[in-house]
Point group: C2
Chain length 112, copies 2
DNA sequence: CAATTAGTTCTATGAGTATCGAATAATGCA
DNA sequence: TGCATTATTCGATACTCATAGAACTAATTG
């Protein structure tokens, strides 16, 4: 991976609101046990992660947790996807979202 | 550590030039074996890391490797220090610089 | 097909960032 | 003490970013 890719990943995580969005998704997808109890984040009606490793209705749920307009949140999702940090697939009217483990590992490798 | 601290750390690494500066210092301080041979970065007259874990004349050396004005590089050093990623101490006319392991570990912990 | 729900795109705006060159300060040496 | 070296600060500029609201598109459901 190029230096510029790493810079883009860090850029995606450099905004506090966007970092929060990423961590919500990360927590739900990669640490579901922790997240059900005492999560730093709260979703109306609970989070629920039916398929392991991914989060259904991710956009909707994130919107419910944050004081940002939907357009801004949409923009942040795009940035996270462009950086390769998350992967979203349409599921009817909503999105199922998962974390790209390879990218997360790349960060860990860089700082090994 | 607060979410905003993490965001600041990522912000410091989000600019490609600044990331390069950080990685030069990181490589010299934390992976000296690798860096002496076949480093991605080159310093006039070699790097040399007399005291383990720190890099002498860091600013000067970084300036020699990069096509940026000294004022810009100075600014980038400040950002890296403010984020807590590096620690610089004056040594005569130059600076000895080291990586703040705690902050690096905090990133790894966040993505554990 | 009409109505509803979910998310996107466009446009505007204020704030922040990267960069440089010039002026300035700090340090050590002759 | 004066000079050279090293780094910082200042001011300007062009650029990027975060954000909201309005208009729009896509999918589902009655």
């Amino acid at each position: 991976m190029e230096l510029s890719n790493y810079a883009n990943i860090f850029k995606a995580l450099s905004n506090e609101q966007r970092l929060k969005i990423f961590l919500m998704i990360y927590e739900q997808c990669c640490k579901p046990e922790e997240s059900q109890v005492g999560s730093k984040f709260e979703a109306k009606g609970g989070w629920c992660c039916p398929a392991a490793g991914s989060l259904e209705k991710a956009f909707t749920k994130v919107c419910d947790c944050m004081n940002l307009s939907r357009s801004t949140i949409s923009h942040h999702f795009k940035e996270l996807q462009n950086a390769g940090l998350i992967i979203c697939e349409r599921e009817g009217r909503t999105f199922r979202c998962s974390v790209n483990g390879e990218v997360v590992n790349a960060i860990k490798e860089l700082l090994k």
